[in-house]
Symmetry: C2
Subunit: 314 residues, 2 copies
Amino acid sequence: MEFWGSSTRPWYPVNGEGQLIERIQRDVKLPRGSGIVLGIGDDCAIFRQRGSTEDLLFTTDLLVEDVHFRRATHRAADAGWKALARGLSDIAAMGGEPRFFLLSLAVARWADARWVDGFYRGLLRLAARAGATLVGGDVGRSDKVMCDIVVCGAVPRGRALRRDGARAGDAIYVSGRLGGSALGLSTGRGAAWRRHLRPEPRLALGRFLRERVRATGAMDLSDGISTDLRRFAAASKLAAEIEAPPQFAGASLEQALHGGEDYELLFTVPSRTKVPAEFEGVPLTRIGVMRRGRPGTVLLGDRPLPPLGFDHFR
Amino acid sequence: MEFWGSSTRPWYPVNGEGQLIERIQRDVKLPRGSGIVLGIGDDCAIFRQRGSTEDLLFTTDLLVEDVHFRRATHRAADAGWKALARGLSDIAAMGGEPRFFLLSLAVARWADARWVDGFYRGLLRLAARAGATLVGGDVGRSDKVMCDIVVCGAVPRGRALRRDGARAGDAIYVSGRLGGSALGLSTGRGAAWRRHLRPEPRLALGRFLRERVRATGAMDLSDGISTDLRRFAAASKLAAEIEAPPQFAGASLEQALHGGEDYELLFTVPSRTKVPAEFEGVPLTRIGVMRRGRPGTVLLGDRPLPPLGFDHFR
Protein backbone atom coordinates (compact mmCIF):
# COMPACT_ATOMS: atom_id res chain seq x y z
CA MET A 1 0.00 0.00 0.00
CA GLU A 2 1.42 3.31 -0.97
CA PHE A 3 -0.70 6.28 -1.76
CA TRP A 4 -2.94 5.75 1.19
CA GLY A 5 0.14 6.53 3.18
CA SER A 6 0.62 9.90 1.56
CA SER A 7 -0.65 12.55 3.87
CA THR A 8 1.88 15.22 3.05
CA ARG A 9 0.76 16.34 -0.39
CA PRO A 10 -2.12 16.08 -2.79
CA TRP A 11 -2.57 12.63 -4.26
CA TYR A 12 -4.98 14.09 -6.76
CA PRO A 13 -4.06 16.83 -9.20
CA VAL A 14 -7.22 18.92 -9.07
CA ASN A 15 -6.97 21.94 -6.81
CA GLY A 16 -8.99 21.67 -3.67
CA GLU A 17 -9.29 17.90 -3.92
CA GLY A 18 -5.91 17.19 -2.43
CA GLN A 19 -7.45 16.34 0.86
CA LEU A 20 -9.61 13.54 -0.50
CA ILE A 21 -7.64 10.78 1.14
CA GLU A 22 -7.36 12.75 4.32
CA ARG A 23 -11.08 13.34 4.29
CA ILE A 24 -11.72 9.65 3.78
CA GLN A 25 -9.33 8.89 6.60
CA ARG A 26 -11.25 11.32 8.77
CA ASP A 27 -14.63 9.95 7.66
CA VAL A 28 -13.64 6.40 8.42
CA LYS A 29 -14.03 5.78 12.12
CA LEU A 30 -12.42 2.66 13.51
CA PRO A 31 -15.23 1.15 15.56
CA ARG A 32 -14.32 0.04 19.07
CA GLY A 33 -14.15 -3.70 19.46
CA SER A 34 -13.77 -4.18 15.70
CA GLY A 35 -10.27 -5.54 16.12
CA ILE A 36 -8.83 -2.95 13.73
CA VAL A 37 -5.62 -1.74 15.33
CA LEU A 38 -4.41 0.40 12.43
CA GLY A 39 -6.36 1.57 9.39
CA ILE A 40 -5.48 3.77 6.43
CA GLY A 41 -2.02 5.32 6.35
CA ASP A 42 0.73 2.72 6.72
CA ASP A 43 2.26 -0.10 4.68
CA CYS A 44 -0.37 -2.49 6.03
CA ALA A 45 -3.57 -2.36 8.03
CA ILE A 46 -3.41 -4.28 11.33
CA PHE A 47 -6.20 -6.53 12.59
CA ARG A 48 -6.33 -8.32 15.93
CA GLN A 49 -8.65 -11.24 16.58
CA ARG A 50 -9.86 -11.88 20.09
CA GLY A 51 -7.88 -14.65 21.72
CA SER A 52 -5.01 -14.56 19.25
CA THR A 53 -1.39 -13.92 20.16
CA GLU A 54 -0.68 -12.61 16.66
CA ASP A 55 -1.73 -9.52 14.77
CA LEU A 56 -2.64 -9.89 11.11
CA LEU A 57 -1.29 -7.47 8.50
CA PHE A 58 -3.12 -6.67 5.26
CA THR A 59 -1.86 -4.85 2.21
CA THR A 60 -3.09 -4.41 -1.35
CA ASP A 61 -1.05 -3.35 -4.38
CA LEU A 62 -2.01 -2.67 -7.94
CA LEU A 63 0.14 -3.70 -10.88
CA VAL A 64 -0.85 -1.96 -14.10
CA GLU A 65 0.43 -2.54 -17.63
CA ASP A 66 2.43 0.45 -18.93
CA VAL A 67 2.73 1.79 -15.38
CA HIS A 68 4.47 -1.01 -13.50
CA PHE A 69 5.50 -3.19 -16.41
CA ARG A 70 5.53 -3.15 -20.20
CA ARG A 71 4.53 -5.94 -22.48
CA ALA A 72 7.52 -5.35 -24.76
CA THR A 73 10.21 -5.48 -22.09
CA HIS A 74 8.83 -7.54 -19.21
CA ARG A 75 8.22 -11.22 -19.52
CA ALA A 76 4.99 -12.56 -18.08
CA ALA A 77 6.86 -14.27 -15.25
CA ASP A 78 8.54 -10.97 -14.35
CA ALA A 79 5.15 -9.26 -14.08
CA GLY A 80 3.82 -12.06 -11.88
CA TRP A 81 6.89 -11.93 -9.66
CA LYS A 82 6.65 -8.19 -9.27
CA ALA A 83 2.93 -8.24 -8.50
CA LEU A 84 3.58 -10.36 -5.44
CA ALA A 85 6.91 -8.72 -4.54
CA ARG A 86 5.13 -5.39 -4.08
CA GLY A 87 2.79 -6.84 -1.49
CA LEU A 88 5.43 -8.92 0.27
CA SER A 89 7.60 -5.82 0.60
CA ASP A 90 4.84 -4.15 2.65
CA ILE A 91 4.69 -7.18 4.93
CA ALA A 92 8.50 -7.07 5.26
CA ALA A 93 8.35 -3.39 6.20
CA MET A 94 6.23 -4.24 9.24
CA GLY A 95 8.46 -7.13 10.25
CA GLY A 96 5.79 -9.66 9.32
CA GLU A 97 5.75 -13.20 8.05
CA PRO A 98 3.60 -13.70 4.96
CA ARG A 99 0.75 -16.17 5.36
CA PHE A 100 -1.50 -16.12 2.32
CA PHE A 101 -2.52 -13.92 -0.59
CA LEU A 102 -5.30 -13.38 -3.08
CA LEU A 103 -4.93 -12.18 -6.64
CA SER A 104 -7.39 -10.36 -8.86
CA LEU A 105 -6.29 -10.38 -12.47
CA ALA A 106 -7.87 -8.46 -15.35
CA VAL A 107 -6.58 -9.91 -18.61
CA ALA A 108 -6.15 -7.85 -21.81
CA ARG A 109 -7.03 -9.31 -25.22
CA TRP A 110 -3.36 -9.44 -26.21
CA ALA A 111 -2.48 -11.65 -23.26
CA ASP A 112 -2.97 -15.20 -24.39
CA ALA A 113 -3.16 -18.28 -22.21
CA ARG A 114 0.58 -18.74 -22.43
CA TRP A 115 1.15 -15.28 -21.03
CA VAL A 116 -1.28 -15.88 -18.18
CA ASP A 117 0.43 -19.18 -17.48
CA GLY A 118 3.82 -17.45 -17.33
CA PHE A 119 2.42 -14.76 -15.07
CA TYR A 120 1.29 -17.37 -12.55
CA ARG A 121 4.59 -19.20 -12.85
CA GLY A 122 6.55 -16.09 -11.78
CA LEU A 123 4.03 -15.32 -9.08
CA LEU A 124 3.98 -18.81 -7.59
CA ARG A 125 7.74 -19.10 -7.72
CA LEU A 126 8.15 -16.11 -5.42
CA ALA A 127 5.22 -17.33 -3.32
CA ALA A 128 6.96 -20.64 -2.70
CA ARG A 129 10.17 -18.88 -1.67
CA ALA A 130 8.32 -16.59 0.69
CA GLY A 131 6.07 -19.26 2.18
CA ALA A 132 2.87 -17.51 1.06
CA THR A 133 -0.11 -19.50 -0.18
CA LEU A 134 -2.49 -18.39 -2.94
CA VAL A 135 -6.00 -18.86 -1.53
CA GLY A 136 -8.26 -17.17 -4.07
CA GLY A 137 -8.97 -14.16 -6.20
CA ASP A 138 -10.97 -13.02 -9.18
CA VAL A 139 -10.37 -12.85 -12.92
CA GLY A 140 -11.87 -10.59 -15.55
CA ARG A 141 -11.25 -8.78 -18.80
CA SER A 142 -9.87 -5.33 -19.48
CA ASP A 143 -8.05 -3.34 -22.17
CA LYS A 144 -4.75 -3.59 -20.36
CA VAL A 145 -3.47 -6.20 -17.99
CA MET A 146 -4.02 -5.12 -14.44
CA CYS A 147 -3.86 -6.98 -11.22
CA ASP A 148 -4.32 -6.35 -7.56
CA ILE A 149 -2.59 -8.42 -4.94
CA VAL A 150 -3.73 -8.77 -1.34
CA VAL A 151 -1.21 -10.19 1.09
CA CYS A 152 -1.88 -11.24 4.67
CA GLY A 153 1.04 -11.49 7.07
CA ALA A 154 1.43 -11.94 10.80
CA VAL A 155 3.48 -10.50 13.64
CA PRO A 156 3.40 -11.18 17.37
CA ARG A 157 0.68 -9.08 18.97
CA GLY A 158 1.56 -5.38 19.18
CA ARG A 159 4.96 -5.84 17.52
CA ALA A 160 4.42 -4.56 13.98
CA LEU A 161 6.97 -2.00 12.81
CA ARG A 162 5.04 1.11 11.88
CA ARG A 163 5.69 4.42 10.17
CA ASP A 164 4.56 6.35 13.21
CA GLY A 165 6.96 4.79 15.69
CA ALA A 166 10.09 6.91 15.18
CA ARG A 167 11.18 9.31 17.94
CA ALA A 168 13.23 12.50 17.80
CA GLY A 169 16.91 11.60 17.89
CA ASP A 170 16.43 8.16 16.30
CA ALA A 171 18.99 7.24 13.66
CA ILE A 172 17.71 6.62 10.12
CA TYR A 173 18.98 3.63 8.14
CA VAL A 174 18.40 2.13 4.73
CA SER A 175 19.09 -1.37 3.49
CA GLY A 176 20.94 -1.98 0.23
CA ARG A 177 21.92 0.61 -2.33
CA LEU A 178 19.32 2.82 -3.92
CA GLY A 179 18.50 3.77 -7.48
CA GLY A 180 19.12 0.33 -9.01
CA SER A 181 15.62 -0.13 -10.29
CA ALA A 182 15.49 3.36 -11.85
CA LEU A 183 18.90 2.79 -13.44
CA GLY A 184 17.79 -0.58 -14.78
CA LEU A 185 14.63 0.91 -16.21
CA SER A 186 16.66 3.51 -18.09
CA THR A 187 19.35 1.16 -19.43
CA GLY A 188 17.42 -2.09 -19.77
CA ARG A 189 20.43 -4.23 -18.96
CA GLY A 190 22.86 -5.59 -16.43
CA ALA A 191 22.46 -6.06 -12.71
CA ALA A 192 20.29 -2.96 -12.43
CA TRP A 193 17.81 -4.28 -14.99
CA ARG A 194 17.65 -7.63 -13.20
CA ARG A 195 17.06 -5.70 -10.02
CA HIS A 196 14.19 -3.85 -11.64
CA LEU A 197 12.65 -7.04 -13.01
CA ARG A 198 12.93 -9.18 -9.91
CA PRO A 199 12.88 -7.09 -6.75
CA GLU A 200 13.61 -9.05 -3.58
CA PRO A 201 11.24 -8.27 -0.74
CA ARG A 202 13.33 -7.93 2.42
CA LEU A 203 11.31 -10.36 4.52
CA ALA A 204 14.14 -11.84 6.57
CA LEU A 205 15.57 -8.37 7.18
CA GLY A 206 12.18 -7.07 8.34
CA ARG A 207 11.90 -9.83 10.91
CA PHE A 208 15.48 -9.23 12.01
CA LEU A 209 14.75 -5.53 12.50
CA ARG A 210 11.69 -6.35 14.60
CA GLU A 211 13.12 -9.20 16.67
CA ARG A 212 16.81 -8.36 17.11
CA VAL A 213 17.43 -4.73 16.23
CA ARG A 214 14.14 -3.58 17.76
CA ALA A 215 13.70 -0.84 15.22
CA THR A 216 11.31 1.93 16.28
CA GLY A 217 9.80 2.34 12.82
CA ALA A 218 10.10 1.04 9.27
CA MET A 219 8.64 1.31 5.79
CA ASP A 220 9.51 -0.01 2.36
CA LEU A 221 10.95 2.19 -0.38
CA SER A 222 8.63 1.84 -3.34
CA ASP A 223 8.34 5.38 -4.65
CA GLY A 224 11.80 6.84 -3.98
CA ILE A 225 13.27 7.83 -0.65
CA SER A 226 12.57 11.55 -1.19
CA THR A 227 8.86 10.76 -1.30
CA ASP A 228 8.75 7.82 1.08
CA LEU A 229 10.85 9.38 3.86
CA ARG A 230 8.54 12.39 3.74
CA ARG A 231 5.56 10.07 4.35
CA PHE A 232 7.42 8.28 7.11
CA ALA A 233 8.43 11.50 8.85
CA ALA A 234 4.90 12.88 8.54
CA ALA A 235 3.47 9.71 10.11
CA SER A 236 5.93 10.04 13.01
CA LYS A 237 5.17 13.80 13.25
CA LEU A 238 8.86 14.60 12.86
CA ALA A 239 11.35 16.01 10.37
CA ALA A 240 14.24 14.01 8.92
CA GLU A 241 17.81 15.05 8.14
CA ILE A 242 19.79 12.79 5.86
CA GLU A 243 22.95 12.72 3.83
CA ALA A 244 23.16 11.11 0.39
CA PRO A 245 22.05 7.48 0.61
CA PRO A 246 24.27 4.68 -0.73
CA GLN A 247 23.93 4.45 -4.50
CA PHE A 248 23.50 1.33 -6.57
CA ALA A 249 26.58 0.83 -8.79
CA GLY A 250 26.17 3.17 -11.74
CA ALA A 251 23.09 4.92 -10.43
CA SER A 252 23.06 8.71 -10.16
CA LEU A 253 22.28 10.54 -6.95
CA GLU A 254 19.00 11.60 -8.54
CA GLN A 255 18.08 7.97 -9.18
CA ALA A 256 19.02 7.02 -5.62
CA LEU A 257 16.93 9.86 -4.15
CA HIS A 258 13.88 9.82 -6.40
CA GLY A 259 13.88 6.48 -8.21
CA GLY A 260 11.05 4.14 -7.30
CA GLU A 261 10.72 0.39 -6.89
CA ASP A 262 13.91 -0.35 -5.00
CA TYR A 263 11.87 -2.19 -2.34
CA GLU A 264 14.60 -1.68 0.21
CA LEU A 265 13.69 -0.93 3.83
CA LEU A 266 13.96 2.41 5.55
CA PHE A 267 14.05 2.10 9.34
CA THR A 268 14.81 3.98 12.53
CA VAL A 269 16.51 2.90 15.75
CA PRO A 270 17.29 4.63 19.04
CA SER A 271 20.56 6.57 18.64
CA ARG A 272 22.59 4.15 20.79
CA THR A 273 21.39 0.98 19.07
CA LYS A 274 24.19 -0.95 17.37
CA VAL A 275 23.13 -1.93 13.88
CA PRO A 276 25.32 -4.44 12.05
CA ALA A 277 26.97 -3.21 8.84
CA GLU A 278 25.08 -5.79 6.86
CA PHE A 279 22.43 -8.48 7.09
CA GLU A 280 22.74 -11.57 4.90
CA GLY A 281 24.94 -9.65 2.49
CA VAL A 282 22.70 -6.57 2.31
CA PRO A 283 24.40 -3.42 3.65
CA LEU A 284 22.63 -1.46 6.39
CA THR A 285 23.66 2.19 6.23
CA ARG A 286 23.04 5.00 8.65
CA ILE A 287 21.92 7.99 6.56
CA GLY A 288 20.58 10.48 9.07
CA VAL A 289 18.53 11.36 12.09
CA MET A 290 14.90 12.16 13.00
CA ARG A 291 14.44 15.67 14.43
CA ARG A 292 11.68 17.74 15.87
CA GLY A 293 10.39 20.06 13.15
CA ARG A 294 7.60 20.51 10.68
CA PRO A 295 6.21 16.98 10.22
CA GLY A 296 7.27 15.52 6.91
CA THR A 297 10.14 17.90 6.25
CA VAL A 298 13.17 16.16 4.75
CA LEU A 299 16.57 17.85 4.64
CA LEU A 300 19.42 16.56 2.51
CA GLY A 301 22.44 18.11 4.17
CA ASP A 302 21.09 21.56 4.99
CA ARG A 303 18.69 21.85 2.04
CA PRO A 304 15.07 20.75 1.75
CA LEU A 305 14.73 17.61 -0.36
CA PRO A 306 11.69 17.89 -2.63
CA PRO A 307 9.56 14.74 -2.95
CA LEU A 308 10.24 13.96 -6.59
CA GLY A 309 9.66 10.23 -6.36
CA PHE A 310 7.11 8.38 -8.43
CA ASP A 311 3.58 9.71 -8.25
CA HIS A 312 0.69 8.42 -10.35
CA PHE A 313 -1.10 11.71 -10.09
CA ARG A 314 1.55 14.15 -11.14
CA MET B 1 -14.93 -14.32 -5.88
CA GLU B 2 -16.35 -15.94 -8.90
CA PHE B 3 -14.26 -17.42 -11.60
CA TRP B 4 -11.99 -19.17 -9.20
CA GLY B 5 -15.04 -21.17 -8.30
CA SER B 6 -15.58 -22.36 -11.84
CA SER B 7 -14.31 -25.88 -12.16
CA THR B 8 -16.88 -27.18 -14.60
CA ARG B 9 -15.83 -25.52 -17.80
CA PRO B 10 -12.95 -23.63 -19.33
CA TRP B 11 -12.50 -20.17 -17.91
CA TYR B 12 -10.11 -19.36 -20.71
CA PRO B 13 -11.07 -19.50 -24.38
CA VAL B 14 -7.94 -21.07 -25.80
CA ASN B 15 -8.16 -24.81 -26.33
CA GLY B 16 -6.11 -26.84 -23.96
CA GLU B 17 -5.82 -24.01 -21.45
CA GLY B 18 -9.13 -24.64 -19.80
CA GLN B 19 -7.41 -26.43 -17.01
CA LEU B 20 -5.30 -23.46 -15.99
CA ILE B 21 -7.28 -22.69 -12.86
CA GLU B 22 -7.51 -26.36 -12.02
CA ARG B 23 -3.79 -26.71 -12.48
CA ILE B 24 -3.16 -23.73 -10.24
CA GLN B 25 -5.52 -25.22 -7.69
CA ARG B 26 -3.57 -28.46 -7.91
CA ASP B 27 -0.22 -26.69 -7.76
CA VAL B 28 -1.19 -24.74 -4.69
CA LYS B 29 -0.73 -26.93 -1.65
CA LEU B 30 -2.32 -25.74 1.57
CA PRO B 31 0.53 -26.15 4.06
CA ARG B 32 -0.32 -27.87 7.32
CA GLY B 33 -0.48 -25.52 10.23
CA SER B 34 -0.91 -22.51 7.95
CA GLY B 35 -4.41 -21.87 9.24
CA ILE B 36 -5.88 -22.00 5.75
CA VAL B 37 -9.09 -24.00 6.05
CA LEU B 38 -10.33 -23.44 2.51
CA GLY B 39 -8.42 -22.09 -0.50
CA ILE B 40 -9.36 -21.53 -4.13
CA GLY B 41 -12.84 -22.57 -5.24
CA ASP B 42 -15.58 -21.02 -3.10
CA ASP B 43 -17.11 -17.59 -2.51
CA CYS B 44 -14.44 -16.86 0.11
CA ALA B 45 -11.22 -18.35 1.38
CA ILE B 46 -11.33 -19.37 5.06
CA PHE B 47 -8.51 -18.67 7.53
CA ARG B 48 -8.34 -19.81 11.14
CA GLN B 49 -5.98 -18.21 13.65
CA ARG B 50 -4.72 -20.25 16.54
CA GLY B 51 -6.67 -19.49 19.70
CA SER B 52 -9.57 -17.82 17.94
CA THR B 53 -13.20 -18.93 18.15
CA GLU B 54 -13.94 -17.37 14.77
CA ASP B 55 -12.93 -18.16 11.23
CA LEU B 56 -12.06 -15.29 8.92
CA LEU B 57 -13.46 -15.12 5.38
CA PHE B 58 -11.67 -13.36 2.52
CA THR B 59 -12.97 -12.47 -0.91
CA THR B 60 -11.77 -10.23 -3.73
CA ASP B 61 -13.87 -8.83 -6.58
CA LEU B 62 -12.94 -6.77 -9.58
CA LEU B 63 -15.13 -3.96 -10.89
CA VAL B 64 -14.18 -2.90 -14.41
CA GLU B 65 -15.51 0.02 -16.45
CA ASP B 66 -17.53 -1.18 -19.48
CA VAL B 67 -17.79 -4.64 -17.93
CA HIS B 68 -19.51 -4.02 -14.61
CA PHE B 69 -20.56 -0.43 -15.10
CA ARG B 70 -20.65 2.25 -17.79
CA ARG B 71 -19.65 5.83 -17.41
CA ALA B 72 -22.67 7.03 -19.39
CA THR B 73 -25.33 5.20 -17.40
CA HIS B 74 -23.91 4.61 -13.92
CA ARG B 75 -23.28 7.42 -11.53
CA ALA B 76 -20.03 7.36 -9.59
CA ALA B 77 -21.85 6.53 -6.35
CA ASP B 78 -23.54 3.56 -8.06
CA ALA B 79 -20.17 2.19 -9.13
CA GLY B 80 -18.79 2.60 -5.60
CA TRP B 81 -21.82 0.91 -4.08
CA LYS B 82 -21.61 -1.99 -6.49
CA ALA B 83 -17.88 -2.50 -5.95
CA LEU B 84 -18.48 -3.19 -2.28
CA ALA B 85 -21.81 -4.98 -2.77
CA ARG B 86 -20.05 -7.64 -4.86
CA GLY B 87 -17.66 -8.46 -2.03
CA LEU B 88 -20.27 -8.27 0.72
CA SER B 89 -22.44 -10.68 -1.23
CA ASP B 90 -19.69 -13.31 -1.02
CA ILE B 91 -19.49 -12.80 2.74
CA ALA B 92 -23.30 -13.13 2.94
CA ALA B 93 -23.16 -16.39 0.98
CA MET B 94 -21.00 -17.94 3.68
CA GLY B 95 -23.20 -16.66 6.49
CA GLY B 96 -20.53 -14.22 7.59
CA GLU B 97 -20.48 -10.83 9.22
CA PRO B 98 -18.36 -8.25 7.39
CA ARG B 99 -15.48 -6.79 9.40
CA PHE B 100 -13.28 -4.66 7.19
CA PHE B 101 -12.32 -4.10 3.58
CA LEU B 102 -9.56 -2.68 1.41
CA LEU B 103 -9.97 -0.99 -1.93
CA SER B 104 -7.54 -0.68 -4.82
CA LEU B 105 -8.69 1.90 -7.33
CA ALA B 106 -7.14 2.61 -10.73
CA VAL B 107 -8.47 5.94 -12.00
CA ALA B 108 -8.95 6.77 -15.68
CA ARG B 109 -8.12 10.23 -17.05
CA TRP B 110 -11.80 11.01 -17.61
CA ALA B 111 -12.63 10.43 -13.96
CA ASP B 112 -12.17 13.76 -12.22
CA ALA B 113 -11.93 14.37 -8.51
CA ARG B 114 -15.69 14.83 -8.29
CA TRP B 115 -16.24 11.40 -9.77
CA VAL B 116 -13.76 9.80 -7.37
CA ASP B 117 -15.45 11.60 -4.51
CA GLY B 118 -18.84 10.26 -5.59
CA PHE B 119 -17.43 6.77 -5.93
CA TYR B 120 -16.24 6.80 -2.33
CA ARG B 121 -19.53 8.29 -1.19
CA GLY B 122 -21.50 5.35 -2.62
CA LEU B 123 -18.94 2.90 -1.31
CA LEU B 124 -18.86 4.28 2.21
CA ARG B 125 -22.63 4.56 2.40
CA LEU B 126 -23.02 0.83 1.87
CA ALA B 127 -20.05 0.19 4.18
CA ALA B 128 -21.77 2.07 7.00
CA ARG B 129 -24.97 0.08 6.51
CA ALA B 130 -23.10 -3.21 6.51
CA GLY B 131 -20.82 -2.37 9.42
CA ALA B 132 -17.66 -2.81 7.35
CA THR B 133 -14.67 -0.49 7.86
CA LEU B 134 -12.34 0.69 5.11
CA VAL B 135 -8.82 0.04 6.40
CA GLY B 136 -6.59 0.66 3.39
CA GLY B 137 -5.92 0.12 -0.27
CA ASP B 138 -3.97 1.44 -3.20
CA VAL B 139 -4.59 3.98 -5.94
CA GLY B 140 -3.15 4.25 -9.41
CA ARG B 141 -3.81 5.30 -12.97
CA SER B 142 -5.21 3.35 -15.91
CA ASP B 143 -7.08 3.87 -19.17
CA LYS B 144 -10.36 2.73 -17.69
CA VAL B 145 -11.60 2.87 -14.14
CA MET B 146 -11.00 -0.41 -12.44
CA CYS B 147 -11.12 -1.40 -8.84
CA ASP B 148 -10.61 -4.44 -6.71
CA ILE B 149 -12.32 -4.85 -3.38
CA VAL B 150 -11.13 -7.18 -0.63
CA VAL B 151 -13.60 -7.92 2.12
CA CYS B 152 -12.89 -9.74 5.37
CA GLY B 153 -15.79 -11.30 7.26
CA ALA B 154 -16.13 -13.64 10.21
CA VAL B 155 -18.16 -16.69 11.20
CA PRO B 156 -18.04 -18.89 14.31
CA ARG B 157 -15.32 -21.48 13.89
CA GLY B 158 -16.21 -24.21 11.41
CA ARG B 159 -19.61 -22.74 10.62
CA ALA B 160 -19.13 -21.10 7.23
CA LEU B 161 -21.71 -22.07 4.60
CA ARG B 162 -19.81 -23.58 1.71
CA ARG B 163 -20.50 -24.70 -1.84
CA ASP B 164 -19.35 -28.21 -1.09
CA GLY B 165 -21.72 -28.90 1.80
CA ALA B 166 -24.87 -30.04 -0.04
CA ARG B 167 -25.94 -33.67 0.21
CA ALA B 168 -28.04 -35.81 -2.13
CA GLY B 169 -31.69 -35.27 -1.38
CA ASP B 170 -31.21 -31.72 -0.07
CA ALA B 171 -33.79 -29.21 -1.22
CA ILE B 172 -32.54 -26.24 -3.29
CA TYR B 173 -33.81 -22.74 -2.54
CA VAL B 174 -33.27 -19.25 -3.88
CA SER B 175 -33.93 -15.92 -2.24
CA GLY B 176 -35.82 -13.18 -4.05
CA ARG B 177 -36.85 -13.17 -7.69
CA LEU B 178 -34.28 -13.59 -10.42
CA GLY B 179 -33.50 -11.70 -13.61
CA GLY B 180 -34.14 -8.22 -12.24
CA SER B 181 -30.62 -6.97 -12.84
CA ALA B 182 -30.56 -8.31 -16.42
CA LEU B 183 -33.96 -6.77 -17.10
CA GLY B 184 -32.84 -3.46 -15.65
CA LEU B 185 -29.71 -3.48 -17.76
CA SER B 186 -31.79 -3.97 -20.91
CA THR B 187 -34.47 -1.37 -20.16
CA GLY B 188 -32.52 1.16 -18.10
CA ARG B 189 -35.51 2.08 -15.97
CA GLY B 190 -37.90 1.24 -13.17
CA ALA B 191 -37.47 -1.09 -10.22
CA ALA B 192 -35.30 -3.46 -12.26
CA TRP B 193 -32.83 -0.71 -13.16
CA ARG B 194 -32.63 0.39 -9.53
CA ARG B 195 -32.05 -3.23 -8.67
CA HIS B 196 -29.20 -3.39 -11.15
CA LEU B 197 -27.65 -0.16 -9.86
CA ARG B 198 -27.89 -0.86 -6.15
CA PRO B 199 -27.81 -4.59 -5.43
CA GLU B 200 -28.50 -5.48 -1.79
CA PRO B 201 -26.09 -8.03 -0.39
CA ARG B 202 -28.15 -10.53 1.61
CA LEU B 203 -26.09 -10.31 4.79
CA ALA B 204 -28.89 -10.75 7.33
CA LEU B 205 -30.33 -13.61 5.31
CA GLY B 206 -26.94 -15.34 5.14
CA ARG B 207 -26.60 -15.24 8.91
CA PHE B 208 -30.19 -16.46 9.30
CA LEU B 209 -29.47 -19.40 7.00
CA ARG B 210 -26.40 -20.31 9.01
CA GLU B 211 -27.79 -19.79 12.51
CA ARG B 212 -31.47 -20.71 12.26
CA VAL B 213 -32.13 -22.63 9.07
CA ARG B 214 -28.84 -24.52 9.29
CA ALA B 215 -28.42 -24.62 5.54
CA THR B 216 -26.05 -27.32 4.29
CA GLY B 217 -24.57 -25.14 1.56
CA ALA B 218 -24.89 -21.69 -0.01
CA MET B 219 -23.48 -19.40 -2.67
CA ASP B 220 -24.39 -16.03 -4.12
CA LEU B 221 -25.86 -15.63 -7.59
CA SER B 222 -23.58 -13.27 -9.45
CA ASP B 223 -23.33 -14.84 -12.90
CA GLY B 224 -26.79 -16.34 -13.41
CA ILE B 225 -28.24 -19.43 -11.77
CA SER B 226 -27.56 -21.65 -14.80
CA THR B 227 -23.84 -21.01 -14.36
CA ASP B 228 -23.70 -20.63 -10.59
CA LEU B 229 -25.77 -23.71 -9.73
CA ARG B 230 -23.49 -25.72 -11.98
CA ARG B 231 -20.48 -24.54 -9.96
CA PHE B 232 -22.30 -25.23 -6.72
CA ALA B 233 -23.31 -28.74 -7.76
CA ALA B 234 -19.79 -29.48 -9.01
CA ALA B 235 -18.33 -28.38 -5.68
CA SER B 236 -20.74 -30.68 -3.84
CA LYS B 237 -20.02 -33.48 -6.36
CA LEU B 238 -23.72 -33.78 -7.16
CA ALA B 239 -26.25 -33.00 -9.88
CA ALA B 240 -29.14 -30.57 -9.43
CA GLU B 241 -32.73 -30.77 -10.68
CA ILE B 242 -34.72 -27.56 -10.64
CA GLU B 243 -37.89 -26.06 -11.98
CA ALA B 244 -38.14 -22.48 -13.24
CA PRO B 245 -36.99 -20.08 -10.52
CA PRO B 246 -39.21 -17.18 -9.45
CA GLN B 247 -38.89 -14.33 -11.95
CA PHE B 248 -38.49 -10.66 -11.18
CA ALA B 249 -41.60 -8.75 -12.33
CA GLY B 250 -41.23 -8.27 -16.09
CA ALA B 251 -38.12 -10.44 -16.44
CA SER B 252 -38.11 -13.29 -18.94
CA LEU B 253 -37.32 -16.86 -18.01
CA GLU B 254 -34.06 -16.45 -19.92
CA GLN B 255 -33.13 -13.45 -17.79
CA ALA B 256 -34.02 -15.32 -14.61
CA LEU B 257 -31.93 -18.35 -15.62
CA HIS B 258 -28.91 -16.71 -17.22
CA GLY B 259 -28.91 -13.08 -16.12
CA GLY B 260 -26.05 -12.10 -13.83
CA GLU B 261 -25.71 -9.73 -10.89
CA ASP B 262 -28.88 -10.58 -8.99
CA TYR B 263 -26.79 -11.15 -5.84
CA GLU B 264 -29.51 -13.34 -4.37
CA LEU B 265 -28.55 -16.44 -2.38
CA LEU B 266 -28.81 -20.03 -3.55
CA PHE B 267 -28.86 -22.51 -0.67
CA THR B 268 -29.62 -26.09 0.25
CA VAL B 269 -31.25 -27.63 3.29
CA PRO B 270 -32.02 -31.20 4.37
CA SER B 271 -35.32 -32.31 2.76
CA ARG B 272 -37.29 -32.14 6.01
CA THR B 273 -36.10 -28.70 7.05
CA LYS B 274 -38.89 -26.13 7.25
CA VAL B 275 -37.85 -22.95 5.50
CA PRO B 276 -40.05 -19.89 6.02
CA ALA B 277 -41.76 -18.48 2.92
CA GLU B 278 -39.88 -15.24 3.35
CA PHE B 279 -37.21 -13.50 5.39
CA GLU B 280 -37.51 -9.78 6.06
CA GLY B 281 -39.75 -9.41 3.03
CA VAL B 282 -37.52 -11.43 0.68
CA PRO B 283 -39.24 -14.61 -0.60
CA LEU B 284 -37.44 -17.92 -0.11
CA THR B 285 -38.50 -20.38 -2.80
CA ARG B 286 -37.87 -24.09 -3.11
CA ILE B 287 -36.82 -24.69 -6.70
CA GLY B 288 -35.45 -28.23 -6.72
CA VAL B 289 -33.37 -30.98 -5.26
CA MET B 290 -29.75 -32.17 -5.24
CA ARG B 291 -29.29 -35.66 -6.74
CA ARG B 292 -26.50 -38.13 -7.25
CA GLY B 293 -25.29 -37.82 -10.82
CA ARG B 294 -22.52 -36.33 -12.90
CA PRO B 295 -21.11 -33.56 -10.75
CA GLY B 296 -22.20 -30.16 -12.01
CA THR B 297 -25.09 -31.39 -14.13
CA VAL B 298 -28.13 -29.12 -13.89
CA LEU B 299 -31.54 -30.23 -15.15
CA LEU B 300 -34.41 -27.80 -15.68
CA GLY B 301 -37.43 -30.09 -15.58
CA ASP B 302 -36.07 -33.10 -17.49
CA ARG B 303 -33.71 -31.19 -19.80
CA PRO B 304 -30.10 -30.21 -19.25
CA LEU B 305 -29.76 -26.50 -18.50
CA PRO B 306 -26.74 -25.08 -20.34
CA PRO B 307 -24.58 -22.65 -18.34
CA LEU B 308 -25.30 -19.50 -20.32
CA GLY B 309 -24.69 -17.04 -17.51
CA PHE B 310 -22.14 -14.28 -17.67
CA ASP B 311 -18.63 -15.33 -18.53
CA HIS B 312 -15.78 -12.89 -19.11
CA PHE B 313 -13.99 -15.38 -21.30
CA ARG B 314 -16.69 -16.33 -23.73
